[in-house]
């Protein structure tokens, strides 16, 4: 079987790149290890700052997949370099010989239980941002039962040398503010706190969302890290933190604590990097040959990147990189002859 391009990873970036490649006249093979397309987008509820339903975005992305061969529940098991092409073998027994491979492997969420002091997996009422999105999507979760006091802990496993992740996950600040607003809408009488290091509201409309959270929703922003979480005799959480603006420690009893798990590189990046001989950075994400002038190019002919494969990104950035990578691949294949 001969196809033009293999796209590894069926998240937003992989889907968008595949569609654009198809529109440019190629026949991409989109490989996804899960049983559905969409990656994290498929499990998210709404996207900041406009609160657009994630399912609407995903629906529009996957509405027209004609001309794209999608392999679900499939992984890449080997990649061999020939003279001017690659032979990619898949776990479904098929293979493809291509001149271009696009890596859109995205990210995984930091396992919050690694920050043992926050008690995820130990204390009943500690959940993650992903758990809360699942609840917003209608999944039942007895941990979210009429909470009166709710806390959000920013930067869980991000900007954290001790956790082995120095990078900022970029979207957690805005996600925390978004989720704080959303949960306040669900429980208007609840008191909601956000524990932050500093708020990175860099995108258009983000700062407005942050101000709205304070003015219209009464979200209390407390600058300082949570030091430890425990449980009192009634099962309520006791959250200790440093309020660095007041210059004193605080202790607050809560009914729900949401940990903003950051983005980390998927473990599978290492295996893929060995197959392609494209070394990932110290943080496990792939490193473009030139992160400023063209973040979609690798240092290896015919291998391209898009989306969070090269580090944490917002959804618009991810989609834009998918499109950019498609154009870059098109130029490359025209140059070398597809």
């Amino acid at each position: 079987m001969t196809k033009n391009v293999v796209v590894i990873g069926g998240g937003a970036s992989g889907i968008e790149a595949s569609r654009r490649l198809r529109d440019l006249g190629y026949s991409p093979v989109l490989v996804e290890k899960e049983d559905h397309l969409g990656g994290h987008l498929a499990s998210w509820n709404r996207l900041f700052p406009q609160m657009i339903p994630a399912k609407d975005i995903l629906k529009s992305l996957t509405s027209d997949m004609k001309g794209i061969e999608v392999f679900l529940n499939t992984e890449v098991i080997s990649i061999n370099r020939l003279k001017d092409s690659y032979v990619v073998k898949f776990s479904n027994g098929l293979s493809a010989q291509v001149k271009a491979i696009l890596i859109t492997t995205g990210f995984t969420l930091f396992p919050a239980q690694k920050k043992q002091e926050y008690g995820y997996g130990i204390y009943d009422r500690v959940i993650t941002n992903a758990d809360l999105e699942a609840w917003f999507n209608g999944n039942k979760d007895k941990r979210v039962t009429d909470p009166q006091v709710i806390g959000f802990v920013h930067c869980v496993g991000s900007r954290d040398e001790k956790a082995g992740n120095r990078q900022c996950s970029k979207v957690c600040c805005a996600t925390a503010v978004k989720q704080a607003i959303e949960i306040k809408e669900k429980f208007p009488d609840a008191v909601v706190y956000c524990f932050y290091m500093d708020l990175r509201m860099f995108g258009r409309g983000y700062e407005d969302m942050y101000l709205k959270a304070q003015k219209d929703y009464g979200i209390r922003f407390l600058r300082g890290r949570v030091s430890e979480v425990s449980e009192d005799i009634n099962g309520r959480l006791v959250v200790k933190a440093d309020d660095t603006l007041l210059g004193k420690p605080v202790k607050i009893s809560m009914d729900l604590l949401v940990l903003m798990s950051g983005m980390i590189a998927p473990e599978s990046n290492m295996e893929l990097s060995k197959m392609l001989k494209v070394l990932p950075g110290e943080d496990g994400f792939f490193s473009p040959a030139n992160a400023i002038s063209n973040p979609t190019l690798s240092n290896r002919d015919g291998v391209f990147f898009a989306g969070a494969a090269t580090g944490p990104k917002t959804m618009p950035e991810t989609l834009s990189e998918g499109r950019a990578a498609a154009l870059e691949i098109d130029s490359y294949l025209k140059r070398v002859g597809d």
Partner: protein
């Protein structure tokens, strides 16, 4: 509480503790605070379990309190520790076990420093040679004495005469476990169970029939905290830490507290008297306090040792309510008798905390 979550963490922080042949070093302050605990430890590991534990009278302080009080520089402390290692080496041992948590933390810190900075170790070797003409090997294995009791907790349970169970109702006793800060907070991988949910004492409690209480201020300092107490002007801060812990554990109605540090049992025990004198408040039932024990004392009680041979009469908070719950027999008239039946004058009894 999700117990399986804790079990997962415990499984990730297990130490490979050697079976036998240890060079044992005592604590400088435990022998004053709880004088029978170290003897009980040796009675258990040598007498009950038949293990080889060697100690030498040439051993000195590790210098920990002076170091943490910034009374001696790091280099001096390291040279003192190098001398202890030389004693171990000269006596043919490779496994080092210390009674004191501060020492354990310090030994761990020194060994890690030397691993990171070999030139520092070389300098200390030179210091020791110039001062004493001694040489040393870094221990192959470093344990705290509570690691050893933890390792043999099930063997102790098999020999148990009494369990951490209310002998009248059969209900497990509710036990607060308090870990010394220097056990694993600095180096989580060096402690059984890690830093956040240490298992070293919880494992003993489970094996001996008790139920561990996880209360909000479980991780908080006992109140010793070196400079909190060593500087006299800070002692109110020391007591307020202890007070915070007792207020936090009170709703859980603990029957007892087990510790593995020299300072913790002392402060948790003595400050209960001061709190009672200052506020009139006591935390046990019927005007008593919550009895506080070292893990060796508890192991001794489980094995059926006489409570007064374990030195429990040196505690501020009366231990009798706990002995009654466990069904441990004792003779009240023997409480203040010393070696050979010599009568020791009973202490003056406090106003607000009930003693037997």
């Amino acid at each position: 509480m999700i117990f399986q979550g804790k079990q997962k963490i415990w499984s990730e922080y297990q130490k490979d503790i050697p079976e036998d042949h240890y060079f044992y070093v005592r604590s400088c302050i435990r022998q004053s605070f709880f004088p029978a605990s170290e003897k009980t430890f040796l009675d258990i590991v040598k007498g009950e379990l038949g293990k080889d534990f060697f100690e030498t009278p040439h051993h000195t302080t590790c210098g920990g309190i002076a170091y943490h009080a910034e009374a001696v520089p790091q280099e001096t402390m390291m040279t003192i520790i190098a001398r202890q290692f030389a004693l171990m080496t000269e006596n043919g041992y490779e496994n080092y076990v210390c009674s004191c948590i501060t020492s354990f933390g310090l030994y761990t810190e020194v060994m890690e420093d030397w691993r990171e900075f070999p030139e520092l170790e070389a300098k200390i070797r030179e210091n020791l040679w110039k001062a004493t003409k001694r040489e040393f090997k870094v221990p192959k294995y470093l344990a705290h004495a509570s690691d050893i009791i933890y390792k043999f907790r099930n063997e102790i349970a098999e020999r148990a005469k009494f369990r951490l169970v209310n002998h009248k109702t059969g209900a497990p006793l509710k036990v607060v476990e308090h870990i010394g800060c220097h056990y694993s907070k600095m180096f989580p991988s060096k402690g059984v169970g890690g830093a956040e949910y240490p298992y070293v004492l919880a494992g003993m409690i489970e094996s001996w029939g008790g139920e561990v209480i996880d209360y909000p201020e479980r991780r908080h300092c006992c109140g010793f905290g070196f400079r909190q107490y060593l500087v006299k002007a800070n002692r109110g801060y020391s007591m307020s830490n202890t007070y915070k812990k007792f207020e936090s554990m009170e709703p859980f109605e603990p029957d007892m507290i087990i510790t593995n540090c020299p300072g913790c049992p002392y402060f948790l025990d003595r400050w209960q008297y001061v709190i009672a004198e200052q506020t009139g408040k006591t935390y046990g039932k019927d005007g008593y306090g919550i009895p506080v024990f070292t893990y060796e004392e508890v192991a001794g009680l489980v094995l059926g040792y006489d409570p007064w041979d374990l030195g429990l009469q040196t505690h501020q908070v009366a231990v009798e309510p706990l002995l009654d719950k466990m069904g441990v027999p004792y003779k009240p008239e023997e409480k203040y008798k010393g070696v050979g039946g010599k009568v020791i004058v009973p202490p003056e009894f406090p106003m607000n905390i009930k003693c037997c």
